[in-house]
C-alpha cells in the first residue's frame, strides 16, 4: 500500500543522481523498472502508471518473440524498438532498456515521426487511440516486423499485439497471423497471459 509512492520517490531520485551509471544502474533500474507493473494492480487508471506498464510490457515482449534470422545484420546487431505517437512512453522505455539485452543483443529505442515510418525496426509501437490514424500508420509501416497498438480494434487494423484495459489493468490481445506474416514466432508462454489470442481466421 505504501510502496508505490516510495518507489516513485526512489525512482525520481535515482534518475537524477545515477541515471547513467553502468552496472549499478542496470541492477537498480532493472529492479525499479520491473516493479511498477506489480504495483500497477491498483493504479492502472493513472495515465502515468499505464504508460510505464505499457513500456515495461513492450520490453518484455521482446523476450517472448523470436525474430526471423534475416532480421539482424549480424550477431551483435541491436534490437530496434520504434515508438511513434508516444514520446513519453519512448522515454520511459529508453530508461527501462538501458543496459539490458535480449538474446545478447543490445536494445535501441527510436522515436519515429510519421515520415520515418518506412524505417526498418523490429518492434513498432504506435500510440494513440484514433483507429483511423493508427490504421493508416500500420499500413504505412511496412518495414516493421512486430506492430503493437493500443487503440480499440487494433488487431483488425493489422497490428500483432494490441494493449487493452481490462478491469483497470493493462492487458493485451495477440493476433498470431499478423506476427507470423512477418516470420515472428510468439512464445506460447506469452499467449498464456494474453487477454485474447486471435488466430488467422479473422483476417
Amino acid at each position: 500500500m505504501h510502496r508505490p509512492p516510495s518507489s516513485s520517490a526512489n525512482h525520481g531520485l535515482r534518475r537524477r543522481l545515477a541515471g547513467w551509471a553502468l552496472l549499478c544502474a542496470a541492477v537498480v533500474c532493472g529492479q525499479l523498472a520491473l516493479l511498477p507493473p506489480a504495483r500497477a494492480d491498483n493504479a492502472a487508471t493513472s495515465p502515468v502508471l499505464e504508460r510505464r506498464v505499457k513500456a515495461a510490457f513492450l520490453y518484455k515482449f521482446l523476450g517472448y518473440a523470436e525474430f526471423p534470422p534475416g532480421a539482424f545484420a549480424d550477431a551483435a546487431s541491436p534490437v530496434t524498438i520504434g515508438v511513434i505517437g508516444a514520446d513519453e512512453l519512448a522515454a520511459e522505455l529508453g530508461r527501462i532498456v538501458s543496459g539490458r539485452t535480449v538474446g545478447n543483443r543490445p536494445i535501441l529505442v527510436r522515436v519515429l515521426r510519421e515520415s520515418e515510418l518506412g524505417t526498418p525496426v523490429h518492434l513498432l509501437f504506435i500510440g494513440g487511440y484514433d483507429s483511423a490514424r493508427v490504421g493508416r500508420l500500420v499500413r504505412a509501416a511496412g518495414n516493421a516486423l512486430l506492430v503493437v497498438t493500443e487503440c480499440d480494434g487494433g488487431l483488425q487494423l493489422g497490428s500483432a499485439i494490441n494493449f487493452r484495459i481490462v478491469d483497470e489493468r493493462v492487458r493485451f490481445d495477440v493476433a498470431l497471423d499478423a506476427a507470423e506474416r512477418n516470420g515472428i514466432k510468439l512464445s506460447s508462454r506469452l499467449l498464456t497471459v494474453a487477454n485474447r489470442v486471435q488466430k488467422g481466421a479473422q483476417q
Binding site: 510502496r3 532493472g30 529492479q31 520491473l34 516493479l35 507493473p37 506489480a38 500497477a40 494492480d41 506498464v53 510490457f57 518484455k60 523476450g63 517472448y64 535480449v102 489493468r169 493493462v170 492487458r171 493485451f172 512464445s187 508462454r189 506469452l190 498464456t192 497471459v193
Partner: protein
C-alpha cells in the same frame, strides 16, 4: 532316563546349531537391512527433494510470464494444476518485491491451520517435521522476477515404516528359511554325533566292545568316529586279553587243584601200598618159619621135609616176586626202566611165564587154558619182560578169580602184531574202574581180604612193559561177577631165522666145568655151590676178593660168579685181576649184584664181565649161562 538324557543332549546340540545359523542369518540380515534402509532413505530424500525442486522449477518457469505481465489470475490457475500432486500441500508465488502474488492450498489441507508464508525466503529446501518446504527463485531473461514456494508432505517416516515392515517380513521369511536349512544341514553333524552317543551308551550298558559306529563321515566328525572305533577296538582287545588271562589263571588253578588232588590220592595210595607191602612181606615169613621148624624137628621124615621145602620155596618165590616188583616200581619212578631187545620165541616166553604162575594157579584150583599158534612165532623183545607181562596178567587173573575158576591165555598173530588175551571168570571190573586199574597202587577192591592181595603194581608194570615194546593194553569187563579180559597188542613179530637157532648147549651135552663162586653171603653161595657140585661140576667157594683171586690163579675156572660187593676187594677189581691172569682170558665172568641198573651193567662189562645177574639169582639162570659155554668159546676164538 539315560535315553531321555541323551535325547536332551543331542537336542541341545541340534538347537545350538540351528540357533547359530539363525542368529548368524539374523545378524547379516539386520546389517544388510540397516544399510539398505540408510541408503534407501538417503536416496529417497534426495529423490523427494529433487522432485520437489523440479516441481518448483517447473512452476517457476510456468508462472514467470504471469508474473512478468502481472497476471495473478493466470498464476493462480497455474498453481491450481498442483491438485494432481496431492502430496503438495501448499504453493505460492511471490513477486521480486517480496509480496505474495498468488497462492494455492491443497484441498486436503484447506481445513487445517496451514498458512502461506507472508514473505519468501532464500532459495533452497527445508524439512519441517514431516513436511518439506522449497523456495525457488523465478528467473526470466536473466532477471529474478519472483519466488516459488512449495510445501509438500515429506513421506520419509511413512517410507521408513513401510520399508521397515517389508524388511521385517523379508527377515522373518529369511529366518524361517534359515531355520529350515539349518535344521536340515545340522543333521550332517548331529546324526554322526547321535550314532556315536548311541554306541557309547550301548557299550556302557552291554559291555560289548565289538560294537562300532557305522557310516563313513569325512572331516573332523569322521576322525572322531574313527578314533572312537579304534578306542573301542583297543579296549575290546585289552578286555579280551584280560579275560583270557583270567581264564588261563582259572585253568591253571584247576590244573593245580587237580594235581594237588592227584598228589593227595597218590600219597594215600602210597600209604596203603606201604601197609600192604609190610603185610605182603610179612605173610610168607610165617610159612617159611613153619617149614624151618618142620625141617629141624622132622629131618628124618623125607615126605614131611619135601612138603616143607615146597612150601618154603613157594613162599620164597612169592617174596622174590614182591621185591622184584618193588625194584621195577622204583625203576619206573626214576625213569630208568629199560628193555634189552633180542630174538625170542613166543612158546619160550609163555613157558617162562607159566613156570612162575602155574604153582599159584594150581594153588587156587583154577583151570588153565592155553591156546597158541601152531607154528613158531618169533618176537623182537626182552624175553624176561615179555614173560613178566604174561605172568603179571595171569597172576592177576588167578588172584581175582574165586577158587575153581577158569583162566585162559590166547595168542594170535595178525600182520606182525601179536595179540595176547588173558581172560578169567573172576569177579570182573566195574566200568568206572576200567581206566584206572592200570594205575600204580590201584587195586580193584582195597578191602579185599585175600591171602595174597598183592601190591597193586602188577597191571601198572604190565602196561609199562607193553608200552616199552611199542604195544597197547586194554581191560574189558562186563561188570562185577562177569569176569575180565585183558588184551595186549604187541607189534613185534619178526620173520623166523632161516638157519635154525642152535638149541642151548646145556640141553645137548652135560659138560662139567670148573666154577669159582665168590660171595660174602655164605648161605647163598654155599647152597648154590652144593647144587653145582651135585650136578657134577668142580666148585671152589670163596667169601672175599683176595681169596677169590688166589683161587682163580690156582684153579683156572671156566666160570666165575663174582659178587660186586665183596669185602676187601670190589668185584670189578677182582674181575680185572682174573682177566690179568694167564688163564683168565678164557674165564666166563658173571657179575652178581643187587644193582641192576644200566650203569651198573656198563661198569660190569667195562671191568671184563661177560654177564650181569641181578640178585636174587635163580638156579635156572645159572644153568642157562652154563649152557651157553660153547657160544662163548666160539666168540672168544
Amino acid at each position: 532316563m539315560s535315553s531321555m538324557k541323551s535325547m536332551r543332549d543331542s537336542g541341545s546340540v541340534r538347537r545350538k546349531l540351528i540357533l547359530m545359523a539363525v542368529s548368524t542369518t539374523l545378524a547379516a540380515l539386520v546389517a544388510a537391512s540397516m544399510a539398505m534402509l540408510l541408503v534407501d532413505l538417503r536416496a529417497f530424500q534426495r529423490y523427494w527433494t529433487d522432485d520437489l525442486m523440479t516441481q518448483a522449477d517447473i512452476m517457476a518457469r510456468v508462472t514467470a510470464p504471469a508474473l512478468a505481465f502481472n497476471d495473478d489470475e493466470t498464476a493462480r490457475q497455474n498453481l491450481a494444476v498442483l491438485r494432481v500432486r496431492p502430496q503438495i500441500l501448499a504453493a505460492a508465488i511471490y513477486t521480486s518485491g517480496g509480496s505474495r502474488f498468488a497462492g494455492y492450498v491443497a484441498p486436503s489441507a484447506s481445513g487445517s491451520a496451514l498458512k502461506l508464508p507472508e514473505r519468501p525466503q532464500a532459495s533452497g529446501y527445508r524439512i519441517e517435521g514431516s513436511e518439506l518446504v522449497v523456495f525457488r527463485n523465478i528467473v526470466e531473461n536473466g532477471d529474478m522476477v519472483g519466488t516459488v514456494y512449495l510445501r509438500a508432505r515429506y513421506g520419509l517416516f511413512d517410507r521408513l515404516l513401510s520399508y521397515g515392515a517389508i524388511l521385517g517380513a523379508v527377515m522373518l521369511g529369511a529366518l524361517a528359511i534359515a531355520w529350515l536349512v539349518a535344521s536340515r544341514l545340522q543333521e550332517a553333524i548331529t546324526r554322526p554325533l547321535e550314532s556315536v552317543t548311541d554306541v557309547a551308551r550301548q557299550v556302557m550298558q552291554q559291555r560289548d566292545f565289538s560294537l562300532r559306529v557305522p557310516g563313513k563321515e569325512s572331516g573332523e566328525i569322521g576322525v572322531l568316529i574313527d578314533a572312537f572305533n579304534d578306542m573301542l577296538a583297543e579296549i575290546g582287545r585289552r578286555s579280551h586279553a584280560l579275560q583270557e588271562a583270567n581264564a588261563t589263571l582259572e585253568h591253571e588253578m584247576q590244573v593245580r587243584e587237580r594235581a594237588e588232588q592227584a598228589l593227595i590220592v597218590a600219597d594215600r595210595r602210597k600209604d596203603e601200598f606201604l601197609a600192604t607191602l609190610a603185610h605182603e612181606l610179612r605173610n610168607p615169613l610165617a610159612p617159611i618159619r613153619t617149614g624151618l621148624d618142620i625141617l629141624r624137628l622132622r629131618s628124618g621124615d623125607a615126605q614131611a621135609t619135601q612138603r616143607a621145602t615146597d612150601i618154603m620155596e613157594r613162599q620164597l618165590r612169592q617174596m622174590v616176586r614182591l621185591v622184584d616188583d618193588l625194584l621195577d616200581v622204583s625203576r619206573i619212578n626214576t625213569g630208568k626202566f629199560t628193555i634189552k631187545s633180542g630174538r625170542v620165541e613166543l612158546k619160550a616166553v609163555v613157558n617162562d611165564a607159566l613156570e612162575v604162575v602155574r604153582p599159584y594157579i594150581d594153588l587156587h584150583g583154577h583151570e588153565l587154558q592155553i591156546d597158541l599158534p601152531d607154528r613158531p612165532v618169533f618176537l623182537n623183545g626182552d624175553a624176561t619182560r615179555l614173560a613178566q607181562i604174561l605172568s603179571n596178567l595171569l597172576n592177576n587173573a588167578a588172584k581175582y578169580t574165586n577158587r575153581g575158576g577158569r583162566v585162559s591165555l590166547t595168542a594170535s598173530v595178525e600182520d606182525r602184531t601179536l595179540t595176547l588175551v588173558v581172560a578169567d571168570t573172576g569177579i570182573g571190573i566195574a566200568p568206572e574202574m576200567l581206566d584206572t586199574v592200570f594205575e600204580m597202587f590201584v587195586q580193584v577192591d582195597s578191602t579185599l581180604e585175600r591171602s595174597t592181595a598183592g601190591l597193586g603194581v602188577g597191571l601198572s608194570l604190565a602196561r609199562k612193559l607193553v608200552e616199552l615194546h611199542g604195544g597197547t593194553i586194554e581191560a574189558h569187563s562186563e561188570g562185577h561177577g562177569h569176569g575180565s579180559q585183558f588184551v595186549v597188542r604187541l607189534p613185534i613179530v619178526v620173520d623166523p631165522e632161516l638157519p635154525a637157532k642152535p638149541t642151548p648147549a646145556s640141553f645137548i651135552s652135560a659138560e662139567t666145568y670148573r666154577i669159582l663162586l665168590a660171595d660174602d653171603n655164605v648161605d647163598f653161595v654155599n647152597s648154590i655151590g652144593a647144587l653145582l657140585t651135585a650136578m657134577g661140576h668142580s666148585v671152589v667157594i670163596t667169601h672175599n676178593g683176595p681169596d677169590a683171586l688166589a683161587a682163580a690163579k690156582r684153579f683156572c675156572p671156566d666160570y666165575a660168579f663174582l659178587d660186586i660187593g665183596l669185602p676187601q676187594m670190589s668185584g670189578y677189581d677182582l674181575a680185572r685181576g682174573i682177566r690179568g691172569l694167564s688163564c683168565g682170558a678164557m674165564t666166563v665172568m658173571i657179575a652178581v649184584t643187587g644193582w641192576g641198573q644200566e650203569k651198573d651193567r656198563q661198569l660190569a662189562f667195562e671191568a671184563g664181565f661177560d654177564h650181569h645177574m641181578v640178585k636174587p639169582v635163580r638156579f635156572e639162570q645159572i644153568e642157562e649161562i652154563l649152557g651157553n659155554r660153547s657160544l662163548i668159546k666160539k666168540l672168544r676164538t
